[in-house]
C-alpha cells in the first residue's frame, strides 16, 4: 500500500496564511471604523472652531477669528467652507497675500468655483488690481451656479458692474448690464436698480426701458415714475418727462425732485422758439422773450462782475446782443429759422457766461440753457 505523506508544516502554512488574511481583513474593518470615528471627532471640533471664528468675525475680532479658522482647517484641510472663511478673515485682517495664496490653492483644485473666484475678485478689487479683478469676477459669474443662487449671482454681477463703472470700464460695464437686463427678475425694484445702473453707465435709453418695465408691473411706482421722468428729461424728451413727472407728483405731491424737474420741463417746452408747430409770430415772441431775459441777466451779472476779469467777456457778449437786437425786434420781417438759431446760440452763450460768473441760474434761465443745449446738438 502506497502511503502519501503530506508534510504537516505545509498545511500549517496554508492555514496560517488564511488566518492572517482574515485577521488583516478584520483589522481593516476595525481601522476603517476607527478612522470614521476620528474623522467625525475632527469634523465636530472643526465645526466648533468654525463657529467661534464666525462669532469673532461678527464681533470684529479678526485676529481671533483667523486663529479659530486656522484651527478649524487644521485637521479638515480640504473643507472648502472653512478655508473660504479663513481666506475671508485673512483678507479682512489685511493679510491679503496669504488670503490670495489660500484662494489660489483652492482655485487650483476647483477653477470654476464661483465662491473662490468671487473672493479672489474682491481681494483684487480691494488691492486696485483691475485686470485681475475683472478676470476673477468674470470667472465667478460665468461658472456654474445653482438655480437657487440666481439672486446671489445677480447681486455679484451688479457688484462687478459698479466696480467697472468706478474704474472707467464703461464698455465692459454696458456689456454686463445688457446681460443683467436679460436676467433681471420681473419685479419693479429689480428693474429700477438695473435702470439706475444704466444711468450710471450713461445709457439713458436702456435705463428708460427698465423704468418702463417697472411701470408696466406697477404703474403707480413713484421711483419708477420719477426715474422715467428724469431719464426722459435727460434724453431731451420733455413732453414724456412732463407726463411721467406729473404722474409721479400725483402719487407723491411732496416730491421736490419731481416738482423741480417738472417745472423745468414745462419751461423748456413753453420757452423754446424752435418747438414744432409754432406760428412765426409765436416763434418770434418766444425768441424775444428769451433774448430779453438773457440780456437782463447779463446786465445784472455785469454789474456784479464790474472790474473783474470776467467783465470783458460779458461786455463783449453785451455788445453782440446790442448789435443783434434790432434785427430780432423787426415786426415786418420775422426772423427765419437760421436767425432764430443764431439768436438762440447767443442766448445760450449769455446764459452760460452768466451762470459761470454769477452763480446758480433761476429755473427760467436753466430752461434757456437746456433749450440752447438741445438745439446745439448736445442732447441725443
Amino acid at each position: 500500500m502506497e502511503v502519501v505523506k503530506i508534510p504537516r508544516i505545509l498545511n500549517r502554512e496554508i492555514v496560517l496564511l488564511v488566518a492572517l488574511s482574515l485577521a488583516a481583513f478584520g483589522v481593516f474593518v476595525f481601522t476603517r471604523h476607527m478612522a470614521a470615528g476620528v474623522q467625525q471627532l475632527e469634523a465636530k471640533i472643526a465645526a466648533v472652531w468654525f463657529e467661534r471664528g464666525m462669532q469673532y468675525m461678527e464681533a470684529g475680532e479678526t485676529e481671533k477669528a483667523i486663529q479659530s479658522f486656522r484651527k478649524a482647517t487644521a485637521d479638515t484641510g480640504d473643507n472648502q467652507k472653512y478655508l473660504l472663511a479663513l481666506a475671508g478673515a485673512l483678507a479682512a485682517g489685511n493679510d491679503a497675500a496669504e488670503a490670495r495664496q489660500l484662494l489660489l490653492t483652492l482655485r487650483e483644485s476647483d477653477p470654476g468655483n464661483a465662491e473662490i473666484n468671487t473672493q479672489l475678485a474682491r481681494l483684487a478689487a480691494r488691492q486696485g488690481e483691475v485686470q485681475d479683478a475683472v478676470h476673477y469676477y468674470q470667472s465667478a459669474l460665468y461658472s456654474n451656479w445653482a438655480a437657487a443662487q440666481a439672486d446671489e449671482r445677480r447681486r455679484l454681477r451688479i457688484e462687478f458692474i459698479r466696480f467697472l463703472l468706478a474704474h472707467e470700464q464703461r464698455d465692459l460695464a454696458t456689456s454686463e448690464l445688457l446681460v443683467l437686463q436679460g436676467r433681471t427678475a420681473d419685479s419693479p425694484p429689480a428693474h429700477i436698480e438695473t435702470a439706475k445702473l444704466f444711468l450710471e453707465a450713461d445709457d439713458q435709453k436702456h435705463a428708460l426701458q427698465e423704468y418702463e418695465e417697472a411701470l408696466r408691473l406697477d404703474s403707480q411706482n413713484e421711483k419708477a415714475l420719477t426715474g422715467a421722468g428724469q431719464t426722459s428729461f435727460q434724453l431731451g424728451d420733455y413732453a414724456t418727462a412732463e407726463r411721467y413727472l406729473r404722474d409721479a407728483l400725483d402719487v407723491n405731491p411732496d416730491s421736490q425732485k419731481a416738482r423741480q424737474l417738472l417745472t423745468l420741463a414745462e419751461l423748456v417746452q413753453s420757452e423754446d422758439p424752435l418747438a414744432p408747430r409754432l406760428s412765426p409770430l409765436e416763434r418770434q415772441r418766444r425768441l424775444m422773450a428769451d433774448f430779453e431775459r438773457s440780456e437782463q441777466r447779463l446786465e445784472s451779472c455785469l454789474n456784479q462782475a464790474a472790474g473783474s476779469t470776467a467783465g470783458a467777456e460779458l461786455q463783449s457778449l453785451k455788445a453782440e446782443a446790442l448789435a443783434v437786437q434790432p434785427k430780432l425786434r423787426s415786426q415786418t420781417h420775422p426772423p427765419d429759422s437760421d436767425a432764430v438759431r443764431s439768436g438762440l446760440d447767443l442766448i445760450f452763450r449769455m446764459q452760460q457766461a452768466a451762470s459761470i460768473h454769477c452763480g446758480e441760474p433761476a429755473p427760467e434761465d436753466q430752461a434757456l440753457l437746456l433749450i440752447g443745449r438741445r438745439h446745439n446738438g448736445e442732447h441725443p
Binding site: M1, E2, V4, I6, P7, I9, L10, N11, E13, I14, L16, L17, L20, S21, A23, A24, V27, F28, T31, R32, M34, A35, V38, L41, E42, I45, V48, W49, R70, A74, D75, G77, D78, A97, E98, Q101, L102, T105, E108
Partner: protein, 579 residues
C-alpha cells in the same frame, strides 16, 4: 490501494518558500499599512482626549509631564526597546539580529508612541510606524518558521509598507527602505518593497482618502539666479541639521550619564519642559504637520517661522533625548519647512532678482533638512518630488539637499541614526561593509579563548598573568565586558616606578581600537597595528562584550592553518553578521 484524488490537489498546494514569502509580503504590507494608519489615529485620538479643544496652561504642563511618567514606567519595565524613533532599532535588528524583533516591541511602540506623541511631545509618527511594521513582520516570520534570510528580508519590506502608509509617498518609502534600512540601493528586495509599498498605500488611501499629507503649492523656478538662493538654503539647512544632530546627541548623552534610578523619570523631565514650551508655542505640539502646511502655503509670518524653527528644534531635542517614544522624521520636515520659509521670505524681500513664493522654499527646505538630519538624500529628493509631482523642483532640490548633506556629513561624519545607536553601544556595519564579503573576516581569525583581568588586579599580578599568556597585552574587564587594554610595557613601567600594587584599572588604555566579527582581514590588521599587540573583537549590538581577540600570533596561526584552503571553505561564525 489507489491514492486519493484529493492528494494531487493537496500536493499542488504545497507551498515553496518563495510563494510563502510573496504571499507574506502582501499580507505584511497590508498589516503594516493598517498599523501605521491605526497609529496615526491613536495619536490623534489621544491628543483630543488629553487636551480637549482649547487646553489651559495648566493642562499644557500637566498632560505631557504626567503621561511621560506613565510612559517612563512602561518603557523601563516592559518595553525598553521602544524608546526613540524606531528606525535605528529596526536597522540594528536587520543588520545584527537577522531581523529578529521581539513581539512585544511592536505593541510597546504603538502604546508608548501614541501616548508620548499624543501627549504633546514634539516627535514624529513615521519612525515608530516603521518599527511597529517591522516588529509585526518579524513576529509573522517566526510563526512561519521562515529561514533566517527570509525572515530578515521581511523587515525592509514592512518598513517600506509602514512608511508608505504613514506618509502617503510610496516611491519615497521604497527608497527609504533601500537607502536607510538595507543601506544598499541595489538590494534584491526592490521588487518586494515596491509591492509592499503599493499594497500599503492602497490600504491607507482606502481608509483615509487620497488627500496628500501636505497641500503643496505649485512650484516655480522664477529666475535662474534663484538657484543661488537655493545654495543659501542648502547652507542654512546644513547648519540647522548639524545643530539639531549635535544638540540631540549632546543632550541625550547628558541624560544617559544620569544615574540609572532616574531612567523612569527622565521622560517626565522632558515632559515638564515640553509642557512649559507648549504654553507659549502650542504649534510645536506633536507631529505638527498642520503648521508645515501653513508654511508651505504662505500662512506664517517671517518672525513666526524663525521662532518655530528654533523652538521646534529645542522641543524635539528635549523630547527625544529624555527617552520618549517618537521619531525625528516629522520634526526634520517641520524644521525644514520653517527654515525654508524664512529663507524664502527673506529672498522674496531682498534678493535683487525675482524669486518664487516662500512656500516653494519651505518645500525644498523640507527635503534639505531631511537630507541633512536623516542622511537619506535620495529619499528626500523623491519624497518632495512625490509631494509636488513637478519635475521643476528637481534641480533646486538636489542643489540644496547635497549642500546640506555635505555640510552635515563633514562636521558629523556618523549619521544621526547610527550615532544614536552608538550611544546605546550598538555599532552598525559601515554601508560598504554591508555587502556580503567572501574575504577573511575577524570571526575567522580571532581566538575565542582569552584572558581578561579585573580592573582591581594589581600590576604585579597582571604581569604574572601576561607572562603566562605569552601575549603583549591583556584585556581588562569583567564577565566578558571589557573596559580597556593594558600592555606589557605599561605594566613594566609601573613596576619600575614602584606601582606594583596599583590596580591596572588606573593604568589601562580605554581608547583602544576594536573590531567586529564581520570586519575584513585588512581592517583587522590595520587596527591590530594601532593597538599594543591585542585587538578585541566585540559584538556590534553590545560593543563592550568581547567575542574574541586577535593577536599577531593568532593571525600567523590562522594563515598557517588555512594557506592551502580555498577562501569559500572557511566557515563564518553563525552568530556574527554575515555581512
Amino acid at each position: 490501494m489507489k491514492a486519493s484524488p484529493v492528494l494531487p490537489l493537496i500536493q499542488r498546494l504545497r507551498l515553496r518558500e518563495n510563494h510563502i514569502f510573496f504571499a507574506l509580503t502582501i499580507i505584511i504590507a497590508v498589516l503594516a499599512g493598517l498599523s501605521a494608519v491605526l497609529f496615526t489615529l491613536a495619536i490623534k485620538g489621544t491628543t483630543y482626549l488629553l487636551f480637549g479643544i482649547s487646553p489651559s496652561s495648566l493642562r499644557f504642563v500637566l498632560v505631557p509631564t504626567l503621561m511621560s511618567l506613565v510612559t517612563g514606567f512602561l518603557l523601563v519595565k516592559f518595553f525598553p526597546d521602544a524608546r526613540g524613533s524606531g528606525v535605528p532599532q529596526t536597522e540594528a535588528a536587520y543588520h545584527l539580529r537577522q531581523g529578529d524583533i521581539p513581539g512585544r516591541v511592536a505593541f510597546g511602540k504603538f502604546l508608548t508612541g501614541a501616548l508620548c506623541i499624543g501627549s504633546g511631545h514634539s516627535m514624529g509618527r513615521e519612525g515608530p510606524s516603521v518599527q511597529i511594521g517591522a516588529g509585526l513582520a518579524s513576529a509573522i516570520g517566526k510563526w512561519f518558521n521562515l529561514s533566517p534570510e527570509r525572515a530578515q528580508s521581511l523587515i525592509p519590506v514592512a518598513a517600506a509598507a509602514a512608511l508608505s502608509a504613514a506618509f502617503n509617498t510610496p516611491v519615497a518609502a521604497v527608497i527609504f527602505a533601500l537607502e536607510e534600512i538595507i543601506g544598499d540601493m541595489n538590494a534584491a528586495l526592490v521588487g518586494s518593497s515596491v509591492v509592499a509599498s503599493v499594497a500599503a498605500v492602497i490600504v491607507a488611501r482606502s481608509i483615509l482618502g487620497n488627500s496628500p499629507v501636505f497641500h503643496v503649492p505649485q512650484y516655480h523656478l522664477v529666475h535662474p539666479a534663484e538657484l543661488i538662493a537655493y545654495v543659501v538654503l542648502g547652507v542654512v539647512g546644513g547648519v540647522v541639521s548639524l545643530g539639531f544632530s549635535k544638540g540631540l546627541l549632546w543632550l541625550r548623552g547628558i541624560f544617559k550619564r544620569m544615574p540609572a534610578r532616574t531612567l523612569m523619570i527622565q521622560p517626565a523631565m522632558g515632559g515638564l519642559i515640553i509642557g512649559v514650551i507648549l504654553i507659549f508655542f502650542p504649534q510645536v505640539m506633536g507631529v505638527g504637520y498642520q503648521y508645515v502646511n501653513q508654511a508651505l502655503n504662505g500662512g506664517l509670518l517671517l518672525k513666526t517661522m524663525a521662532l518655530l524653527c528654533v523652538v521646534k528644534l529645542v522641543a524635539t531635542i528635549v523630547s527625544y533625548s529624555s527617552g520618549n517614544a517618537g521619531g525625528i522624521f516629522a520634526p526634520s520636515l517641520y524644521l525644514g519647512a520653517m527654515a525654508g520659509g524664512v529663507i524664502g521670505t527673506l529672498m522674496h524681500r531682498f534678493a535683487p532678482f525675482p524669486t518664487g513664493d516662500p512656500g516653494a522654499y519651505a518645500l525644498v527646505g523640507m527635503g534639505t533638512l531631511f537630507a541633512g538630519i536623516i542622511r537619506a538624500p535620495m529619499t528626500s529628493v523623491f519624497m518632495i518630488f512625490e509631494l509636488t509631482q513637478d519635475y521643476q523642483v528637481f534641480v533646486p532640490l538636489m542643489i540644496a539637499n547635497m549642500i546640506s548633506f555635505v555640510i552635515s556629513k563633514h562636521y558629523q561624519p556618523t549619521s544621526l541614526y547610527h550615532a544614536l545607536l552608538q550611544q546605546d553601544n550598538v555599532h552598525l556595519p559601515a554601508p560598504g561593509a554591508r555587502v556580503p564579503s567572501r574575504s577573511w573576516q575577524a570571526a575567522d581569525i580571532m581566538t575565542r579563548e582569552f584572558t581578561m583581568i579585573s580592573p582591581n588586579t594589581s600590576v604585579a599580578k597582571a604581569l604574572d598573568a601576561i607572562e603566562s599568556s605569552g601575549l603583549q597585552a591583556l584585556l581588562v574587564g569583567n564577565d566578558r565586558l571589557y573596559e580597556g587594554v593594558i600592555s606589557r610595557d605599561l605594566m613594566e613601567q609601573a613596576m619600575l616606578s614602584g606601582k606594583a600594587n596599583s590596580p591596572v584599572g588606573a593604568l589601562m588604555m580605554t581608547d583602544c581600537a576594536h573590531a567586529h566579527a564581520d570586519h575584513p582581514l585588512e581592517v583587522v590588521l590595520d587596527r591590530l597595528h594601532k593597538n599594543p599587540g591585542l585587538l578585541p573583537v566585540v559584538r556590534r549590538e553590545r560593543v563592550r562584550e568581547v567575542q574574541g581577540i586577535v593577536t599577531p600570533q593568532s593571525v600567523m596561526q590562522f594563515l598557517q592553518n588555512t594557506r592551502d584552503k580555498p577562501t569559500t571553505d572557511i566557515p563564518v561564525e553563525k552568530n556574527a553578521s554575515s555581512k
